[in-house]
């Protein structure tokens, strides 16, 4: 591996990131600001890829530059907000400028005390990281150290992260879902044959129809191959959700609701978290601690010491299911303003 970091790229990309952020904040049209903010997110992904943190870069690309921008566009479509309002006068802006400069200088004053990048005697690299690097392959037979730390050594944190995604989905659902519309939206209206607006584009529909199966296959590969390459449950789940959001955008929202009804969606959001927690409980029944996959080897196929690797795979599948259906449910709620009939 050549010398890290690639300082030429890093300097230029940092300049670009600051430029993107300034542009995104100063555009007064909200749609333009949203799209530029998505591109800012991707510049951050490039910086992380330049540092060698590929899992983080993958997650940032999938979530920040992909699905998150679509959520903001859906929200803008529903609320009808189009322009930023001019705030305050000159004294207000000066006051804000002074506050931000003081706070920023305070934070930057800690900069000389950081250890050097990648130094072997910094607290992280001296205590915890060598243990993971040396023992991952013998303990869990998983070459991707990030996946093994995420799902095995720090499995509790990932369980609670998945629960947080689940809670976010439920919160948006309970805030936005309009019950009166649920009584008015009748089933025949959804299952009736589509009548597409003739001015709607056939080209976009056919191209999306071509791309969706490949996206889903690629996302399944990312989930299953997370042991060996950058990826894992979260990134694969986001790409799966994005493939169905693509269907909802290029066809009609009812097209998606015909395939996945509302009840199925909300049930499956919960199934993923339940799967994760159930794996932990099964380990307890087998005689070990909660989420200690080593005790699962009597019910899982394969050799005795591959049990942890298979346990990680089960848990990643649970994370993927929850994230996929959360993304879809959040998009449907935001795009149709809770009415579940038509939207972006």
């Amino acid at each position: 591996m050549p010398e890290l970091p690639i300082w030429q790229f890093d300097v230029l990309l940092l300049i670009l990131v600051v430029l993107f952020a300034v542009v995104a904040l100063s555009i007064r049209n909200l749609m333009g600001a949203a799209v530029v903010f998505g591109a800012y997110s991707f510049m951050m992904c490039l910086i992380w890829a330049g540092m060698g943190a590929v899992d983080v870069a993958f997650t940032e690309a999938a979530v920040g530059a992909g699905v998150s921008t679509v959520f903001v566009v859906s929200t803008l479509y529903n609320t009808g907000a189009t322009m930023q309002r001019r705030t305050g006068g000159l004294t207000f802006k000066l006051f804000i400028g002074v506050v931000v400069t003081v706070a920023g200088a305070f934070l930057l004053s800690a900069l000389p005390d950081f250890p050097k990048w990648g130094a072997p005697d910094s607290p992280v690299n001296a205590t915890v990281a060598p243990y993971y690097i040396l023992n991952t392959f013998e303990d869990a037979h998983v070459p991707n150290i990030v996946t093994s730390v995420l799902a095995d050594y720090r499995g509790f944190d990932t369980l609670l992260e998945t629960t947080v995604v689940f809670i976010a989905c439920i919160a948006i659902y309970s805030i936005m879902r309009v019950d009166k519309a649920k009584l008015e939206t009748d089933e025949p209206a959804i299952v009736a044959a589509p009548r597409y607006d003739p001015s709607d584009s056939l080209i976009v529909r056919q191209a999306s129809r071509f791309m969706v199966p490949f996206m889903q296959l690629f996302a399944l590969y990312v989930i299953a191959h997370g042991h060996y390459s950058p990826g894992g449950g979260f990134q694969g789940g986001v790409i799966l959700g994005a493939s169905l959001i693509l269907l909802a955008i290029s066809f009609d929202l009812k097209f998606l609701l015909r395939q996945w009804s509302e009840k199925t969606l909300m049930l499956l959001v919960a199934v993923g978290v339940f799967l994760y927690a159930a794996v932990g409980l099964t380990c307890m029944f087998m005689g070990g601690d909660y989420l200690d996959y080593g005790f699962l080897d009597s019910i899982l196929p394969g050799e005795k010491d591959m049990a942890r690797s298979h346990g990680i795979l089960l848990v990643e599948i649970g994370v993927g299911i929850t994230v996929m259906f959360s993304m879809i449910a959040i998009h449907i709620n935001l795009a149709s303003n809770g009415r579940f009939d038509r939207g972006l």
Partner: protein
Amino acid sequence: MNTFITTAGIALIGLMLLVLIRAIKGPTVIDRLVAINVIGTKSIVMLLFAGILFGQLEMFVDIALGYGLLNYIVSIAASRYYQHRKSLEPEHSPGGSPVS
């Protein structure tokens, strides 16, 4: 090979800066959309260059493939917004929009 790819990467970032000028200047908002689409496509190429410089291209190809698919979704979503809204000028909603 490393110096060639590094030079190509710096040239690519420089050209992306020029495209950013169109995103700043663009009189309509779809000009900005077009510029961001171009920047997104070129960032896929930047990821592969970073992979070649690291010597481990197989790690970075997956990320590039994933982002290529998601770039498409953002462009389609943003243009659907304008197809439904049917107006490029931002409307001044009554009472002033409180969103900032």
